[in-house]
Symmetry: C2
């Protein structure tokens, strides 16, 4: 399995100013008290935030758009725009590019991550997202929209707890997360095995498996924090001692030694570079996090 | 959760002479070419081995006994005896004690580990097994018979990949494995979560999850080796950094940081004390291991 990483997908040099990545495991509650979406709104600046929702991944955009319109409106956001792309040329529309240029946050809905990436990858929309994110635009995505944020993306796969090469199909993602592979609906669709298999293919990666109604925020200081009702499972291959995934038949369980595993719930934080995990001092009675945990403080570019 | 470890369950001082522990994940093939049972026969000395099968765990001992009679006979073993205990007084029968006294290996069938332990725990049979194992008697067990070998035993529980305190019920086992909790039918019944939960309760333990038709042998040098067609999943809590299993409701997923995980297949070895894992030099074209890997060489007591 060989996946080419496109140029420009590495973390930017001036990491202090880039926006936060906010990945959701799917099926987040979409009402006023939604912990997950309310955190996304908070990090984008609260009710005054200018948000753009891209339903590109979806094959039923009307339904998806209606839900997010209700959810973000209930959270007090008025400056909301929605765009959908079915063809690659849709990703050059001037109104779309202007909306992204002026947004505080862009949110990718669920659907098919392959549709999302094959439609917008390499388009003017892709370029402006990359450029604006580098200067502070926050990027959120749920389900397929979360998976697509990775540089190496899980395109498809089968559930089960066993790591088999045949259980996962990888492809190049949008590249906003260069060393992390995101999976979603994680516990609900029993996707531990396919995430393990993806990490065994390149143990320098970390796998982030998000349960439904659960999100992680990765800020510009590479600090990950968890919000929502489920857990974030982290599969860390960086200390792997051995595997036979390249030797056994694709359908056979792969053996391995030295995988590290963490399961974090709301309020726990993880240093992507340090590997350091912090458990909240108090048991989580709320899943709300202060905004300064989600967004690196200091001057943010616009 | 508090479990009292009985006296005498620690590893004996003179560990070089104790017998091998041979735990099977259940549903091992029971015909002449059975890799798993054939390894048990080999480690007990081959066709000349004197074997005693205890069907105590089973509620249908006739069926279970018939299968093992066919299997061990097909492997050339003639000196076979079978005993069953439904009442605690059955565990003092002189013929039973004499058979164990003279056996090279004793094998516990599947069934209910709670029936097995509650029937023979603290009986003369229990004492003589312990005493003879210390001097070289090999002990095998499949399914419930494997679980019961632990000092802290998984008595019952529910499948799923999520660690929840409510998913596992622990009780004191026979105590031949003091720092290891064994689980079986592991992949087939999706028991990752209950083994994780057991280890979170006391991270000094290691969880060994055996797939069906798969076994591990633990020799007197504390070297573990894997045989059979599936894998042994090792969940190692000894480097755990944090968990909230004591804080969250019993039915909620427990969070944790720093779990280590290994999945080993036939031919892989694991040092129980060193944590060192060795991958076989050649991809396993056979699941047979040399006897000197299974049994520590040197003078063995009788």
């Amino acid at each position: 399995m060989h996946i080419q990483i496109r140029e420009g997908q590495a973390l930017p040099d001036n990491a202090q100013r880039r926006g936060t990545i906010f990945a959701v495991g799917g099926r987040e509650a979409r009402y006023e008290n939604s912990a997950v979406l309310s955190q996304f709104v908070s990090l984008c600046g609260g009710p005054k935030a200018r948000l753009t929702v891209l339903s590109t991944a979806s094959r039923e955009p009307q339904r998806s758009v209606a839900r997010y319109r209700v959810a973000f409106s209930a959270l007090g956001v008025n400056d909301l725009s929605f765009f959908h792309q079915d063809q690659r040329e849709d990703a050059s529309h001037p109104a779309l590019l202007a909306a992204v240029e002026n947004a505080d946050g862009v949110f990718f809905t669920g659907g098919s991550q392959l549709k999302l990436v094959s439609t917008i990858g390499g388009t003017p929309l892709d370029s402006i997202l990359r450029e604006r994110h580098r200067r502070g635009l926050h990027l959120g995505g749920s389900s397929a929209g979360a998976s697509a944020l990775s540089a190496v993306m899980i395109a498809r796969g089968t559930g089960r707890s066993t790591a088999r090469l045949s259980s996962v199909r990888l492809s190049p993602g949008l590249g906003f997360l260069s060393r992390v592979i995101v999976d979603q609906h994680f516990r609900e669709r029993d996707r531990f095995g396919r995430l393990l298999a993806a990490i065994l293919c390149n143990p320098s990666m970390r796998g982030f498996g998000l349960d439904e109604d659960t999100a992680f925020a990765l800020n510009a200081s590479d600090q990950v924090s968890v919000v929502g009702n489920g857990t974030l499972t982290i599969v860390d291959g960086t200390h792997l001692e051995a595997t036979n995934i390249d030797e056994v038949p694709e359908d056979s369980p792969a053996a391995f030694a030295g995988m590290r595993m963490h399961v974090l719930s709301a309020g726990w934080t993880y240093g992507l570079l340090s590997g350091r995990i912090e458990k909240p001092l108090l048991p989580a009675t709320t899943t709300r996090l202060p905004v300064d945990v989600l967004v690196t403080s200091g001057k943010r570019g616009r």
